[in-house]
Assembly symmetry: C3
Homo-oligomer: 216 residues x 3
């Protein structure tokens, strides 16, 4: 298996995993078959479409290569029919989702650097590629994006995209370094899930002090 | 009347119809005059803006040709002032909306093919052009997009965009074939409305079985 | 201080002010530190990213110049830690927000004209640049966009973008004229806030007359 075949397979795995997460959310909202496939599509490909628009790679890969849309549609349909079984596979989905997060972080950041986006911009684009699909999924299902509320998710992606930019600047952005960055995101995400790590929340100091609350 | 004049008139009719649907939703949410016009603008032009960004036709037609923005703004304003009468015209609006859906499906798919997007991508872009405005309308008014929840809507657009791509591949994408594709979408949508067709919903097999419900 | 330095400083001031508004909204929704920074980033840079995509200036300035992302991130973090004090500075924030609105209206409209977008399109793009960040902020926090519901906000931006296009058409788009347009937006917004001006709302004539309500 060549490197580019490996990359494509890994990329499509990420698409499938995110499609499954979007489809599951849509099933929980009682969307119909089309709605489930559509939300799966957005979750799997939304981040990449945004990335490609921003770096002017048009048409975006999601439309230029049929295998992306097909993978997302088939996976989401499968979730629609199989979701009771998937519910029992929740841990597996979380692990695969973490793997997808790592992968999309690395490819998104690399593509931005290739398009000559400066370092800080590439870091942000890489992170947005990884979390963008989940954002779209939550907007479509009328939720405050989970990624903004819970746990270390985007922060793991951010750490990975910073690592890719640093590796690239130092000339170490080979297969080994990039794999290490993806693994970093993956491990950070899983450890955070396991230990219930979260970024701090400003709960102790409400912005509207005294509005109908007893004085402290 | 030349073909291009006919197409422009048809296109602006679609814009007007979708602007009316967006404005009606905004009035129902008690938005102010500006909000009504804005949501009408997004519903009428959002799908086309997305399409043009994705196929790199910039600035998008909605900004490059003033007649598009003007049609959307005038129609939405008219709805703001006239909406009690429009409420009684509900059937008319649904019929026009189905016509707009058919039209935008055909023009969106054609534009994508012209921009050398491959078949599967063109199908998806054509469908997104047709349903994109309604998605934007529902996101702005904080609803789960109706298009994802009810009835055959996006599926009709999907059937039409597949037909356009097939016609184009076979060399039959002339005026007759394209009109037939638009009529297909229109008829599918109206029949679905009439017979209350829906895509299947996964109601019978809830993902979290047994959560507070009696056993079956 | 040269003109371009002045413009950059003014631009970054606008970014900081909008980042603060987004971060405040995110704190009120109990988002975590990352969520607060992210919503601040979207509020500060979302309008400009949309503008740059539409006029094909890629990568958008928000990614191409690190000072934009850095300003947004630092400001949003500061709000996260300091928000009780900011709550008492509410008037100051509103005034700065009005200043940002004026500035982004002028720069957005100018950039669209520079990219050869016709007049009506440039007016719309200018207004969207100014209000786009706030829209993104409200979508992310699952609110019907405030800009669509309350007060003269987008209308002030619209007046400013029309003025810029007229000045440009007449050959008066120098520093003086542009400053006047920004001041127009600023003053309109503040006067509207002070006098509680609003665009009209269609409250008196509900679209669904008689549905379960007593006859009038």
């Amino acid at each position: 298996m060549t490197t580019s075949t490996a990359l494509l397979l890994a990329d499509l795995t990420g698409v499938a995993v995110f499609a499954a997460s979007g489809a599951s959310a849509a099933v929980a909202k009682r969307l119909d078959l089309f709605g489930v496939v559509f939300v799966g599509f957005v979750a799997a490909l939304g981040g990449g479409i945004f990335r490609d628009l921003v770096i002017d790679e048009v048409p975006p890969l999601a439309f230029a290569d049929w295998r992306y849309a097909a993978t997302a549609a088939v996976t989401a349909s499968a979730v629609f029919w199989l979701h009771p079984q998937l519910a029992r596979l929740r841990t597996t989905v979380l692990v695969l989702d973490a793997a997808g997060l790592g992968l999309f972080t690395v490819t998104g950041t690399l593509k931005a650097l290739d398009a000559r986006v400066p370092a800080v911009g590439a870091v942000v684009i890489g992170m947005l590629t990884a979390i963008g699909g989940g954002l779209g999924r939550d907007l479509l299902t009328a939720e405050i994006p989970v990624v903004l509320r819970r746990e270390i998710y985007a922060v793991a992606a951010l750490a990975g995209s910073i690592m890719v930019v640093l590796l690239s600047a130092l000339g170490y952005a080979g297969a080994g370094g990039l794999t290490a960055a993806a693994v970093l995101v993956f491990v950070l995400r899983l450890v955070a899930l396991r230990r219930r790590w979260s970024a701090p929340v400003a709960t102790m100091r409400p912005p509207e002090t005294g509005l109908g609350r007893p004085p402290r």
